[in-house]
Each structure stands twice: as structure tokens, then as C-alpha cells.
């Protein structure tokens, strides 16, 4: 292993983060109606006048790119160009947003009411808002929030409206259009709708990408989409999807804009609205279809307390700086720019790497509540743990997490016992505290069939795991190193590295591990474990220290469920593995783990897909 990169890890604990302000505070003390009707004059990109949706549509339909594709398709299919153009116009009609201030005001009013009922606080880093405001004026902006809940984009637009920033246009799944009225209202508040899959449809792709690019090039409004593509049911970040990122980068590659600011945004929920639904979905209950009546039924959640939301606007990342030395833009010189072509391999690699980088930036700025630590510890002790011990362990874990750079929302004046107690109080549905012991609530309230019991138990483990998952990114690299050290059964650095590399490869569908970053991740892991004196890294060897045993064993058992899940999960597909009759690891039942494990096996060519 040659670590000849110039990468020098920075101490993650020294990361500086901004302070938060609660935006609901003002809402609780002044009129929502006046707020919704106030004068709204956002700053805009280079003083450009926002474009009417109709003008935008015409611009897209008359673009060189679309004209080219239409002409080509007409030649291929023999269909007349007018018919195809008509079709393109139809696609655009279905897709395009119709942002209207009136609807925005309606949402501003009703969301104010809803948020106040649901959440204690909606906290935003105002420094981030300031930076965003600056960026919007200088370059086209792409907003990239994390995706944990349907609330995400409502929250985003709400915040931008509150701070008098241009409202974003948001890429949303077509499923929302299934909701009567609501879908159209979302459209009028800036959402545009794209089909979930349109692989081979050239015309659709052309209309869609040209639509996004036209908005970006002219800088009419920030463009918002979710890198992860869909809501993460597990609260772990998902492997980023590259389609839209490719599209928003292209205008820069082709010199049509000077730069594009990519703004990673981390939205963390103390309790996700869809918490219970997600666990059921992971166990195979299909996702309820988006419908207006479903939404109305879901209004009972308004009576529950979902704690606070933290929204952290990260530093805008300049695409130009990222691409410096990576992308040779003159590769686009020899082809008219409106003719679509596949991005080169170096471009694809760059987009992929950037996507990972942005998701990691989202992860880094996710605010973690003390409960996340408690959940991690409880899951490691399925038989329950003494309160006293739990407090001690939580306090220890807090120190470790902070030194690894976790963004903990745990002020110094709150003692560990207080933090643990209030965490347990908010999540009574998941934890049982009896006789000075805390335990996951595994026993079904009313006994049913064995299958139902199993289902309930698994559901509560998965719910709890979704909290633990929020902190995994902090421990991921050191834990992989810990596991590798266990696996290698020797202290030679090369052996450990190859085990590390193997594990990393196995888990790269599960966690955010950028392809090609093995050396850097290994260095980072070594650095972090050396810093907390858990290991001793020499030139040729990596040795665990006396003190490090506790840390290493915590780390390995933290990721044990995944290791188990990968052994067990795809068992039905693998005859070689003995399927354990006695199932102890509920997390292996998660469809997410199974899906990822299968994908990993496919990728590593352990199994092969056969069409049946």
C-alpha cells in the first residue's frame, strides 16, 4: 500500500460550526397572517428579473438542444417534427413548475401553523443564510438538502421565504402529482415533477435536462434537488444519484456559466415524522401511495411532539474550484454545445466523486441529539442496561464522538444523566425503563401470533437503529479499521490495509464511501484512532493499545449488525450459507440491508443475476 497522497487529515474535533437561531420563536409571538402577506423582495442573481414560467417554457421548447433532438428523432422515426414537438410540449407541461407568490403565501401561513404544532423549534444557522444570500447574487445556486422526510422541501422553501431569499425550484417525484390539488399546489410553490425512470426516453431526457439547464444558466432561481434521490428510510445517507448533478454541472463545463455554487444542506430531525412508517416499510410493508386523503388522515400526527429540527446551510462549494485541474473544459470545444453527448470517463468520475463529497458534507453538518448516542448503546445491550452504567457509557461515548468530529447538540451545562433522562422521555415508545434499567421496548403490548411478535420486535429495533444510524458516519472509518484489525489477526499494516480495503468495498453500497478513496480513508481512520490513543501506527504495523480495547470493541460491535446482516441477509440467495434457525439479529430483516448486501455481492461478482 502506498500512501503517497499529500492528504493530511485535519483534526475533526476542531471543525468550526455556526450557531443556530430558532425561526419559530418569532412566529409564536407575531401574526402568521401578516408574515404570510409581508413584502417579499428576494435578492436575485446579478439583478436579473425572475422569468415568468411561460417564457421559460418557450425558451426551452425553442432551445437549440431540443430542436436538435426533435429533428433527429423525426429522422429516426419518420414521425413529423411537429408531432414530436407537440409531445415535448406535453412533457414540459407535465413537468414545469408554476411558481406563484399567492400559493407561496398560503403555504407560509399554513406551514407556520403546522410547524408550531409539530415542532418545538426550527433552528437555522443564520451565517449559512448570509453566505447563501451572497452566493445567490454571484452565481447560479444549487441547493442540495439531505432527504429524510417529506417535510424537507417544505422546510427549505419556508426558510428561504422567511429570510427573503429567492424561492427554489424543486425537483420532485411524479408520485406527488397523484395527490389531487396538493400536487398542483406544490407545483405553484415551485416544484417541478420528473418521472422516476425514463432511461431510454431521449425526448424526455432532452426536455428535462434543457429545462433544468435553462433555469440554471439564466439564474432565475436556485435549483433544489435531493442528491440521495429518495428519502432515506434508515436515516443513513444514501448513495448519491448522479443524473441531476450531471445536468447542473454541464453549463459550467461548457462555459455557459462562470461557476455554479453547490450548497450542501443538512436537515436533522429529532424525530422523523415518518418514523413508524419507515420501520414497517423496511420490513416489507409497501409504502402508502401519496394521496390527498392519506395526507388528511395523517393529520393526527399534528398532536404529537416531534422535538426540534436543525437546518444547517453548509459553505457553498464552488464547482469551478472543484473542477480545477480535474476537468479539461476544452474537451467541449469541438462539438456544438447543443448536441448531447455522453460525459467522458473523467467527467463521470469527477461527478461521482463530487456527489460523494457533497453527501459527506451533508453528513458532517447533521446535528446529533444525545438520544442518538443512547440508542447506539441500547442496541448493543439488547438485554437492557443499568441506568447508571448507561449514563457513564453515554458520557464516555460523547467524548469519543466529539473527538471524531460529531456535531452534537449537547451543551456543556447539561449533565449526562439529564441528557439521558430527557432522551428516554422523548422516545418512550421505543424504550422501557424499569427498576433502574433501560431496555429496548421489545415485548409486544398485546401478544399476537409469533410472526406478528417478531414483526413488532423487529420494527422497534429498526426504529431505534434509525437513530443510531445517524451517527455511524462519524465512526465509520475508524470502525472499518477496527474490524480490519480483527480480521487480519496480525498487526502488519499491509494486511490490515487489504482487509480494510475489502471491508470498505463490501460496505460501499451501505455507507458513503467514495470509490477510489481507500488510501485517504485508511489514513483518516489511522489518524483518528491514533489521536484517541486507541492504536499505535508505526511504519509497518498497526497495534491496538491497552486503552484502545474499549474503543475498538465499541466500534466493532456498533457495526456488528451490518456484518451479521451481510452474512445472513442474502442467505436465501446463497445456498452455501447456513441459514440460522435462531434469528438474533433483527436488523438483518431490513430490506435495506438485504438490498445493499445483494447489490454488493452482485458488484463483487459473487453472485450473478439471472432472468427468470
Amino acid at each position: 500500500m502506498a500512501s503517497n497522497t499529500l492528504y493530511s487529515p485535519r483534526d475533526p474535533a476542531l471543525k468550526k460550526r455556526d450557531d443556530f437561531e430558532d425561526i419559530l420563536e418569532e412566529r409564536r409571538s407575531s401574526s402568521d397572517l401578516r408574515y404570510a402577506l409581508r413584502c417579499y423582495v428576494p435578492v436575485v442573481y446579478k439583478g436579473i428579473a425572475p422569468c415568468k414560467p411561460g417564457v421559460l417554457k418557450t425558451a426551452v421548447l425553442q432551445s437549440d438542444r431540443l430542436r436538435h433532438v426533435v429533428a433527429e428523432m423525426s429522422k429516426e422515426t419518420g414521425e413529423s417534427a411537429d408531432v414530436i414537438r407537440e409531445e415535448a410540449s406535453g412533457i414540459l407541461e407535465e413537468m414545469a413548475h408554476r411558481l406563484r407568490l399567492g400559493t407561496v403565501r398560503f403555504f407560509a401561513y399554513s406551514l407556520s401553523k403546522a410547524f408550531k404544532a409539530l415542532f418545538q423549534r426550527v433552528r437555522v444557522n443564520e451565517d449559512g443564510i448570509q453566505r447563501l444570500q451572497q452566493s445567490i447574487q454571484e452565481h447560479p445556486v444549487v441547493l442540495l438538502p439531505s432527504h429524510r422526510s417529506y417535510m424537507d422541501f417544505l422546510i427549505m422553501s419556508y426558510i428561504l421565504y422567511t429570510y427573503d431569499l429567492s424561492l427554489p425550484v424543486i425537483a420532485a417525484g411524479m408520485d406527488f402529482l397523484g395527490m389531487k390539488i396538493v400536487g398542483e399546489m406544490l407545483r405553484m410553490s415551485g416544484a417541478f415533477f420528473i418521472r422516476r425512470s425514463f432511461g431510454g426516453d431521449k425526448l424526455y431526457w432532452a426536455v428535462f435536462s434543457e429545462y433544468v439547464k435553462t433555469m440554471l444558466r439564466n439564474g432565475y432561481a436556485p435549483i433544489e434537488f435531493f442528491l440521495e434521490g429518495t428519502r432515506s428510510r434508515t436515516c443513513k445517507s444514501l448513495t448519491p444519484k448522479l443524473g441531476l448533478l450531471n445536468i447542473v454541472m454541464e453549463p459550467f463545463f461548457k462555459g455557459e456559466v462562470f461557476d455554479v455554487s453547490l450548497v450542501p444542506i443538512s436537515i436533522s430531525y429529532e424525530r422523523v415524522l415518518e418514523e413508524a412508517l419507515y420501520a414497517r416499510e423496511l420490513l416489507g410493508v409497501p409504502k402508502p401511495k401519496e394521496s390527498t386523503s392519506g395526507l388528511l388522515k395523517a393529520r393526527k400526527i399534528l398532536s404529537e411532539d416531534y422535538g426540534s429540527i436543525h437546518v444547517y446551510f453548509g459553505h457553498p462549494v464552488s464547482l469551478r474550484s472543484l473542477a480545477q485541474g480535474r476537468i479539461n473544459r476544452s474537451q467541449y470545444n469541438l462539438l456544438p454545445r447543443h448536441i448531447p453527448r455522453r460525459p467522458s470517463q473523467e467527467t463521470q468520475a469527477f461527478v461521482n466523486e463530487t456527489a460523494y463529497r457533497l453527501v459527506r458534507l451533508q453528513e458532517e453538518n447533521m446535528v446529533l441529539r444525545p438520544w442518538v448516542l443512547v440508542a447506539a448503546l441500547l442496541l448493543q445491550n439488547p438485554d437492557g442496561v443499568d441506568m447508571e452504567r448507561l449514563v457513564e457509557q453515554t458520557s464516555w461515548l460523547r467524548g469519543l464522538a466529539v473527538s471524531f468530529g460529531a456535531f452534537l447538540d449537547w451543551p456543556d451545562y447539561v449533565s449526562a444523566s439529564k441528557a439521558v433522562a430527557s432522551s428516554l422521555a422523548l422516545h418512550t415508545g421505543l424504550v422501557r425503563t424499569e427498576g433502574g434499567r433501560a431496555q429496548l421496548a421489545m415485548e409486544p403490548k398485546e401478544p399476537g401470533s409469533p410472526e406478528e411478535d417478531l414483526f413488532d420486535r423487529a420494527a422497534s429495533v429498526l426504529s431505534c437503529a434509525s437513530y443510531r444510524n445517524q451517527i455511524l458516519h462519524v465512526f465509520l472509518r475508524p470502525a472499518l479499521l477496527g474490524m480490519a484489525m480483527q480480521m487480519a489477526e496480525a498487526s502488519r499494516k499491509d494486511d490490515i490495509y487489504s482487509c480494510f480495503s475489502f471491508l470498505r468495498d463490501v460496505f460501499s453500497n451501505e455507507f458513503i464511501l467514495c470509490p477510489g478513496g481507500t488510501v485517504q480513508d485508511f489514513d483518516e481512520a489511522c489518524y483518528m484512532l491514533t489521536k484517541c490513543a486507541a492504536v499505535h501506527v508505526q511504519k509497518q504495523e498497526v497495534v491496538a493499545t491497552e486503552k484502545g480495547q474499549r474503543i475498538l470493541s465499541f466500534l466493532t460491535s456498533l457495526f456488528q449488525p451490518f456484518l451479521k446482516g451481510y452474512q445472513v441477509g442474502p442467505a436465501p440467495f446463497l445456498e452455501l450459507v447456513d441459514y440460522p434457525r435462531e434469528l438474533t439479529c433483527y436488523e438483518a430483516l431490513s430490506s435495506d440491508v438485504q438490498k445493499n448486501a445483494l447489490a454488493a455481492l452482485l458488484r463483487m461478482k459473487v453472485v450473478r443475476k439471472l432472468k427468470v
Binding site: 462555459g255 462562470f258 479539461n328 476544452s330 467541449y332 470545444n333 456544438p336
Partner: protein, 634 residues
């Protein structure tokens, strides 16, 4: 004092001063005057008027007597801020000469954050003792003496030919710093002299650098610092005769050392012109144009240099290269002219050129059009190019450059004119609603017979109107063109007050013009900020030429360098970044300035490795010992 007689078309007396005397030698005051007074050692010598400046230059061997040694152009012409703090242009050579420019100071101070209190004057005189001692090849020198070709190794002569007009070159001169300079200057008088000189250079392994007008902006004249051989600057200025004019075929055979303004004036006397007018035409030479693939402002009518030359004679170490006929177009393999044009002094010396001539145009008319913004202006130029109805010259200045041009308006003589100006301004900004911070101006020059010009003018104005353009008068047009002639003088003024700047150019397909202009300007601003420049830079551009498939874009870039330790280095890095931006946006490495040493870093990516190999193999055959060792291009 030596008198030599030449038998020639026009017979002239040539004076040969020993080099020592040159510094006190004659200073022609005004070549266009009825009489030219020349002082030699305190004696007054009256020279008849037929002795134009051209003939005097042949007398003098060098133009350095009338030109600045550390700045642009004629010694008598310069901008300065007078005691009242008003800008003034001295001398009597230009339309602007002797005029007061009341708004220049405000523009200068507000654009650059400069102040008249903060001066950064140049070293006044050339300190000959600071110039490196010449390392001479004695054997070569001996043989050279026997040929009778004049030469000099005086410090002034060598320093004058050691540089072009890149910012770093002029900046160093102003600070009195000299790097590697030629060891010897020779003045061959004709093709045969050049053959002899090149022959001797080959025999004694001497490095030759041809020197024409010295207006290079690509570091092409810079001596390679690690060149250990004796470097000889081959000054072509004595080869400046028109050898013949062929009125049947409309060609003229001219020695390559002639400078643009002389060529035009002499041809004009016979009722002809070449129409080749690069902005440097006052000083740049025919041979230089050929060697760098020059472009003239009126190329729409007359063509660029490659369209103008019919025949070229070049002396190379391997021998003399030329074609055997003057057929207007030939299909005899790759055109050898295209090895010569753009060779930038790396293959040989161009000695004689047959160039197309045209009857002088009967009528000339300037014009200008105001557009609400740059985008509309570019769209209009594109349409004009599409309809192939471009006037002799059409240029589009961006807003910053329009304001720059405005700052050069001379003091108006009457209240009436100033009232008219105010009225025009009111009409455009208030009545027509043009934003003064976005509007831009196209300047036009029409040429031909009167009726055609007027017709042409109408056609162009009609197109302009479709893009929101308003005709804005001849005066604005003419002032626009004047800017290009005085801009280099303005740079010297800036350098007196901590402002450094330069121009650079590119050519780019039509669809990328706007993107390129915007991105390059923004890149300049951003790079300056990141490199610690304390004041916002001036980054402005204009579209100067239109072609069927694209346009030539010309940038000015300048900034106030107060507070910077190494301004020239920072300047260079920003310019480098700007060039990278140009290439990334589909622009070319150069439209007409050439590559020299300044831009050769990008040659492989511009023409591919195989392309480089092709050029190298030509160089290897033509000049195996690298006698023409300027190391430009490759």
C-alpha cells in the same frame, strides 16, 4: 562622417555615423514639416523636405532616436497630468496631440483607485553601465567587418532591440533592469546582405534574432537567458524600399523591413494602398507581419496578411526559400508560405515580399451604433457577418470600454457642442431607456466609392436597428479607432501611477463569444482578488473582427498594484489564468499576436503532439543548428 551613394529608385544620401555619435545624433522634429532641422554636434543642418522620415530612418539606422527607450512610441508623444491635474497628450503627431482631456483624471482615479499623489516614475535615462557586457564572437565580427554591413555593440542599440512591448519587458526597462540582451546589432541593407549575414552566422555558430518593428507582445524578442552563443540582432530597418509596383497585376514588391505607415504613405503617393492596418502599423514592419500572421483592422475589405501576400522570399540557414511564380492560387502541395507565416523568426529572415495593392478608396466614412447591451451588439455583429456585409471595420466595445473611450473626449470648445452632447446623452439614456451601465457601442469604418459607402451604411444601420441599435454619429466612431492608437501611450501613463496593464486577444466561434467574454472578465476579477490585488481591476473587451464562423475578441486588463510586492509576477499569473479560461471556453491561443515565448506553453494542447512534431521536423531541416535561436513557438 561617411557618405555613401546608393543607386536606387529614389536616390538618397546616406550618412553613416560611428555608433558612438548616435546618441547625440540627429533628432528629426517633425517629418511632415516643410523642413526638418537636424542638429549634429551643435551644427544646424538643413535637410530638404523630400527626405521623409523614412529616408531619415535609413540615415539614422535606428528609430531609437525618435522613440522612447522604455515605453511606447515617439519620445515627443506622451500623456501626462499637467499642473492643474488635467490629462494632456503632448506632441503634434496625433489628432489628440496637444489636447486637454478633462475627464480622464476622474475616470483614471475612479476606475483604478489610483491617485495623482502616488507616483511610480520610470528611470529617466538608460544607464549603459548596467547593461551586460557583450560577449562577441571575434571570428564572426572579423568576417562581418569585411562585408561592410554596418553593426554596433553599443549598449543603447542592444537594449533597444532586446525587447518587445509585453508588460514585464517594459516594466523592467522602467526600473532600469536588463536581462540578457543581444551582443551585437547588424543592419543589413538588402537581401544579399542578409544572405551574407546568415551565412556567417552559420559558419561561426552565432545566434540570430530578426528584429523588425519591435512591437511584439509575445516575448518573441526576448533573448533566451541561457543562450551561451553570441546573440546577434538582425535589424531589418534599412531594408525599407518599395522595389517595384506592378499596376497591371496590382502588386508591389517590397523589402520586408518597411514599417506600415511608410508603406502606406509611399503607396498612397502612387494612388495605391495595401489596406493592411494593424493597430501597431506606425511601427510594425512588413516582415514582422508575415512572421507573426498579422491581421489588419480593415481585413474585411483587404484581407489578413495571409490573403495579401503573393510571394515571400526568406533567407534560412539551409538557403533561400521562395516560390517560382506569382500565380494567384496554386495547388502544389502544402503551401510553403504557411511554414513561413507565423514562424516567428525561428526559421529565417523574411527579406522581400510581393504584396497585393488596391487603388486608394475614394471615400471613407466613420460611424457608430449604440446598443442597449453587449448581447444585442454581438447578435448584430453576428447578423452582419452572416449577411457578409461587414464594413471595412466593425468593432463592438463593451460598456467599460465605451466609458474608457468617453474619458478620452477632448475639452469641447463651445457651449453649443457640450449642449449637443448633453442632448444626445439625454435622448439615449432617458428617451430610449438605455442603461448607461449596460449600453455599448459599435464603431464602423466604411470604404469605397461614395455611393456604395452610403448604400452599405444604410444596410448596416438597418440590421443594427433590428437589434435595438441607434446610430450614434461619426465622431464616436472615429474616437473609438483613435483609442487603439493611443492605448499603448496610456499604458505608460498608468505605469507612472502604479497602474499596470496589457491587452491580449483570441478568436472564437460565434456561439461562444458572449460566454467567453463574460467568463474571461470574471476570471480576471476573481484571480486579482485571490492574489491580493487591493483594487478591482479593469477587465474589458471588444469584438474587433468578424468572420463567417466566429470573431476576434480583444481584452484590456489593468490594475492598480499599490501594496503588492511583485506586481509583474501577479500580473503574469492573472494573464496566464485568463488565457487558460480562454482556451477552456473554446477560444484560440492567439488571433494575431502570435505565440512567442509567452504562450508557447499551450502549443502542444493547441495543435496536438503530432502537430508539434510536424513543426519541429521543419525546423530541424531548415535550421539544424538552431541559428535562429529565439526559441519562439516550440
Amino acid at each position: 562622417m561617411k557618405f555613401v551613394c546608393y543607386s536606387h529608385v529614389c536616390v538618397v544620401w546616406v550618412l553613416w555615423f560611428p555608433p558612438k555619435l548616435q546618441s547625440h545624433a540627429c533628432v528629426p522634429l517633425m517629418y511632415a514639416e516643410a523642413m526638418v532641422l537636424t542638429a549634429i554636434r551643435g551644427e544646424l543642418v538643413v535637410i530638404p523636405v523630400e527626405w521623409s522620415w523614412l529616408t531619415l530612418s535609413r540615415v539614422l539606422f535606428s528609430r531609437q532616436e525618435v522613440m522612447k527607450w522604455n515605453g511606447w512610441g515617439y519620445s515627443d508623444s506622451r500623456f501626462l497630468f499637467n499642473k492643474k491635474g488635467q490629462a494632456e497628450f503632448t506632441g503634434r503627431r496625433y489628432r489628440l496631440s496637444g489636447m486637454v482631456l478633462p475627464s480622464l483624471k476622474d475616470w483614471f482615479e475612479s476606475t483604478f483607485g489610483a491617485s495623482l499623489q502616488h507616483k511610480s516614475p520610470a528611470t529617466a535615462t538608460l544607464n549603459a553601465s548596467a547593461v551586460p557586457f557583450p560577449s562577441l564572437n571575434e571570428a564572426f565580427l572579423q568576417d562581418l567587418k569585411s562585408t561592410g554591413i554596418p553593426f554596433s555593440h553599443e549598449a543603447e542599440d542592444r537594449v533597444f532591440r532586446a525587447h518587445g512591448h509585453c508588460l514585464h519587458e517594459i516594466f523592467a526597462l522602467r526600473e532600469g533592469k536588463f536581462g540578457r540582451v543581444p551582443d551585437l546589432v547588424v543592419w543589413p541593407n538588402c537581401h544579399e546582405d542578409v544572405v551574407k549575414t546568415v551565412d556567417l552566422a552559420c559558419r561561426h555558430n552565432v545566434c540570430l534574432i530578426p528584429y523588425g518593428g519591435g512591437t511584439s507582445v509575445s516575448s518573441a524578442l526576448e533573448c533566451p537567458p541561457d543562450e551561451t552563443r553570441c546573440i546577434v540582432s538582425l535589424d531589418t530597418s534599412q531594408m525599407s524600399r518599395i522595389l517595384w509596383i506592378d499596376e497591371k497585376n496590382l502588386t508591389a514588391h517590397v523589402e520586408a523591413g518597411i514599417v506600415g505607415q511608410d508603406l502606406e504613405r509611399l503607396l498612397n503617393e502612387s494612388g495605391y494602398c495595401t489596406g493592411h492596418e494593424p493597430d501597431s502599423m506606425e511601427f510594425s514592419s512588413l516582415g514582422g507581419w508575415v512572421a507573426t500572421r498579422a491581421s489588419g483592422m480593415k481585413k474585411n475589405v483587404y484581407g489578413n496578411i495571409e490573403d495579401l501576400v503573393v510571394h515571400i522570399k526568406m533567407v534560412c540557414p539551409r538557403g533561400v526559400v521562395e516560390k517560382s511564380c506569382q500565380g494567384p492560387r496554386v495547388s502544389i502541395g502544402p503551401d510553403i508560405h504557411h511554414f513561413i507565416m507565423g514562424s516567428e523568426g525561428t526559421l529565417g529572415v523574411v527579406t522581400e515580399v510581393t504584396i497585393k495593392i488596391r487603388p486608394m478608396p475614394e471615400y471613407q466614412k466613420y460611424g457608430s451604433v449604440v446598443f442597449p447591451n453587449f448581447e444585442q451588439g454581438v447578435a448584430c455583429l453576428r447578423e452582419v457577418a452572416k449577411q457578409r456585409c461587414a464594413p471595412a471595420s466593425i468593432r463592438l466595445m463593451d460598456n467599460a470600454q465605451f466609458q474608457f473611450g468617453h474619458a478620452l473626449k477632448p475639452q469641447v470648445s463651445s457651449i453649443f457642442t457640450s449642449f449637443l452632447d448633453g442632448l444626445k446623452k439625454f435622448y439615449i439614456t432617458k428617451f430610449k431607456g438605455f442603461d448607461p451601465h449596460h449600453l455599448c457601442v459599435a464603431t464602423l469604418l466604411f470604404e469605397g466609392d461614395r455611393e456604395r459607402v452610403l448604400q452599405h451604411e444604410k444596410q448596416v444601420y438597418d440590421i443594427a436597428a433590428k437589434f435595438g441599435g441607434l446610430a450614434a454619429g461619426e465622431d464616436n466612431g472615429q474616437r473609438g479607432y483613435m483609442l487603439t492608437f493611443v492605448i499603448a501611450y496610456l499604458r505608460d501613463l498608468g505605469m507612472d501611477y502604479y497602474v499596470i496593464g496589457e491587452s491580449f486577444e483570441t478568436s472564437v466561434p460565434w456561439d461562444r463569444v458572449l460566454d467567453l467574454c463574460r467568463n474571461v472578465k470574471e476570471r480576471i476579477v476573481r484571480e486579482c482578488r485571490e492574489r491580493g490585488v487591493q483594487f478591482p481591476p479593469l477587465a474589458t473587451c471588444r469584438v474587433t473582427q468578424t468572420y463567417d464562423a466566429g470573431a476576434c475578441v480583444y481584452f484590456y486588463f489593468a490594475f492598480n498594484y499599490r501594496g503588492l510586492a511583485d506586481p509583474v509576477n501577479i500580473y503574469g499569473r492573472v494573464e496566464h489564468a485568463a488565457r487558460e479560461e480562454i482556451l477552456a471556453n473554446g477560444g484560440s491561443l492567439s488571433h494575431h499576436h502570435g505565440v512567442g515565448k509567452l504562450r508557447k506553453h499551450w502549443m502542444p494542447e493547441s495543435i496536438s503532439d503530432v502537430g508539434i512534431g510536424m513543426l519541429k521536423s521543419v525546423k530541424e531541416y531548415v535550421d539544424p543548428d538552431n541559428i535562429f535561436g529565439s526559441r519562439n513557438l516550440l
